[in-house]
């Protein structure tokens, strides 16, 4: 398969939060990923798994106390991880954009939508480029049209718009500089189901029409599976599974992915069994020292608690699991009894987590 060179390639990205006082949180841990041009990829995981932090890192939006101590991010052949200031800003035009979680807080309440758009166009204008009022209105109307909003929205303030409309405005703002990569960070989480469905449809259509590469960050596997070509599952700061969406739905490899799928059911079914995932995610102020899911994993064996599994090819994708990859089978034979302490941690982590 002579695939086109990736639009974005990240290698061993690490992100830490280092507040002046308090604990250091190691939020993203040795994450590597690659995005083909035009691909629509989902990034799924629970609150605090590092998915938004990774999205911020990939678009170079991290601010103190977050820091990227190591890792490489190559966008269209250029290393953007080492860029800063003006050179980084120049890359944003035609480069990469981020759509923030809640449109309500992402917009300035004392500025009209038109001024928001004008600000971006002017701030990123190339040398000698001038944006007149009429040019801004023309471009603004065009951008709003893309997200299925009428031009008169240009003169509205954020409080005059509904949640769904505000989220559409946020998307229009992200598209203002014609990015080739758009990261959507929980774009529909604050919206009700019907509005969510409409906004997701617009995102999907836009991605197809405009041809940009997209990452959809969400805790909702249902929404992600409906929209994307491929899903990356994140847990404890690591990517634990990466598969085409259709394959992931029918054949999840990682026990965590399987557990996430178990949290859904069709409300129309005759019998409903709704699963949850007992326990809490790992404390990211501590080093991994094994598979991050061990404490909550029903299948954990001895090696899981000590060796962090690598992503290995499984089916049509990759997954990081000793049990599923078969790397742990040999170790599990002599250490059957050792599996018990790992199970026991499932009950204690929740209590210990906040005890400090």
């Amino acid at each position: 398969m002579a695939a086109a060179p990736p639009l974005l390639e990240a290698k061993d990205v690490n992100v830490v939060y280092e507040p002046a006082r308090g604990v250091r949180i190691w939020s993203v841990r040795d994450v590597s990923l690659s995005l083909a041009p035009g691909e629509f990829v989902g990034l799924v995981g629970e609150s605090g798994c590092g998915k938004s932090t990774l999205g911020f890192a990939l678009t170079r939006m991290l601010r103190a106390p977050a820091r990227m101590p190591s890792g490489e991010i190559v966008f269209d052949g250029q290393d953007i991880a080492s860029l800063d200031g003006e050179p980084l800003r120049r890359q944003r035009r035609g480069g990469f954009a981020l759509v923030l979680q809640s449109g309500m807080n992402a917009l300035n309440p004392v500025r009209t939508v038109g001024r928001h758009i004008g600000d971006i166009l002017k701030a990123h204008a190339t040398d000698g480029e001038k944006w007149s009022r009429s040019a801004i209105r023309e471009r603004g109307a065009e951008l709003l049209g893309k997200v299925r909003l009428e031009p008169d929205v240009l003169d509205r303030y954020p409080h005059e718009l509904s949640g769904g409309m505000r989220q559409r405005v946020s998307i229009a703002l992200a598209l203002a500089l014609e990015p080739r990569l758009v990261v959507f960070d929980e774009p529909t989480t604050a919206l009700d189901v019907i509005v969510q469905q409409a906004v997701m449809k617009t995102i999907k259509d836009l991605q197809r029409e405009e041809g940009f590469t997209a990452i959809l960050i969400s805790h909702d596997l249902g929404v992600v599976l409906e929209a994307t070509d491929r899903v990356m599952v994140m847990y404890g700061g690591e990517i634990v599974e990466d598969q085409p969406s259709s394959a992931l739905l029918t054949g999840p490899h990682h026990p965590y992915t399987e557990a996430l799928l178990g949290c859904y059911a069709d409300p129309r079914a005759d019998e409903i069994e709704l699963g949850g995932i007992p326990g809490t995610p790992p404390d990211l102020s501590l080093p991994a020292g094994g598979c991050p899911f061990t404490a909550r994993c029903p299948e954990a064996i001895e090696i899981c608690g000590t060796v962090d599994p690598e992503l290995t090819p499984l089916g049509r994708g990759v997954a990081a699991c000793h049990v599923r990859a078969g790397t742990g089978t040999a170790a599990s034979v002599p250490g059957t009894a050792a599996a018990v302490p790992h199970q026991a941690t499932a009950d204690t982590t929740e209590e210990n987590r906040h005890a400090r």
């Binding site: 409906e226 859904y264 949850g276």
Partner: protein, 268 residues
């Protein structure tokens, strides 16, 4: 404690209407001629999208707002006519669980303080008696061992744990009816099942009635016996939850069902 409870009182809502009048004569009919009965120990779901009037209905039922017309009766109590003292007695019997567990708890108060206040204020317990009960309640809502949680502040707890504290506070005055307004919508999908199971269990153990408000049809299916589908303040469909979801007769209900992004539906 529950043996002699008077929870044999149904909640009867009749022809309830709430109109909000704005300036310049503009008005919004948030709730439009809604009637339903919630039997003791039953669970009714109010489902609908944003702006369908479901939260307004919850505010009317808890006495936080007064209806424009219509009536709400809870057993012998005419809720719509209640004032200060009557409302206070009513709140001993009807409690609310809010949507946002991050906003519903005072960040400066410990879990134990938050849960013990309703017992002292509404049930007249002494501080010592209340603090003893705090531990029982924490165990009831699955925060075990309770000593690990009693002295915590909200920011030291996860979203799911906070929502359990909010539920424990609602249980603190030993109510007959709990009105839960989107109690799991702010929680991770992986944590929802735990809170829903807790609500179901409490119904069974305490004979609580539950008015469950949501736009999430799956959680309504798990928790409720009956549902009312609301659209722009009107009931467009109602009946047994499973029946309504399996055989919706109203277009709006179908639209709500289609909008649910379940991985299983994506497979079909």
């Amino acid at each position: 404690m529950h043996a002699d409870r008077t929870s044999s009182s149904p909640l009867v809502v009749e022809n309830l209407t709430k109109v909000y009048r704005g300036r310049r004569g503009a008005s919004v009919t948030a709730v439009d001629d809604v009637s339903f009965t919630l039997e003791p120990g039953g669970a009714t779901g109010l489902v609908g999208a944003s702006g369908s009037g479901k939260s307004t209905l919850a505010r009317l039922v808890t006495g936080a707002e007064r209806p424009t017309s219509g009536s709400i009766r809870f057993g012998d109590t005419a809720v719509t006519g209640l004032r200060a003292r009557g409302l206070r007695a009513y709140h001993r019997r009807v409690q609310m669980v809010f949507q946002d567990p991050y906003g519903a708890l005072n960040p400066l108060h410990t879990v134990a303080y938050t849960i013990s206040r309703p017992m002292q204020n509404l049930r007249g317990m002494s501080a010592r008696e209340a603090s003893r009960q705090v531990h029982d309640l924490l165990e009831t809502v699955g925060l075990m061992p309770s000593s690990q949680y009693a002295e915590k502040l909200p920011h030291q707890l996860s979203g799911g744990q906070r929502q359990r504290v909010v539920i424990a506070r609602a249980l603190a005055c030993d109510p007959d009816l709990i009105v839960a307004d989107e109690p799991v919508s702010m929680l991770d999908v992986s944590l929802r099942a735990g809170v829903l199971t807790l609500l179901k269990r409490l119904r069974g153990e305490r004979g609580l009635s539950l008015l469950y408000i949501t736009h999430d049809l799956l959680s309504a299916r798990v928790v409720t016996d009956d549902i009312l589908v609301l659209n722009q303040g009107r009931v467009v469909e109602s009946g047994n939850t499973r029946q309504v979801l399996q055989h919706p007769t109203d277009d709006y209900t179908r639209q709500l069902l289609d909008a649910v992004a379940t991985p299983t539906a994506a497979a079909a």
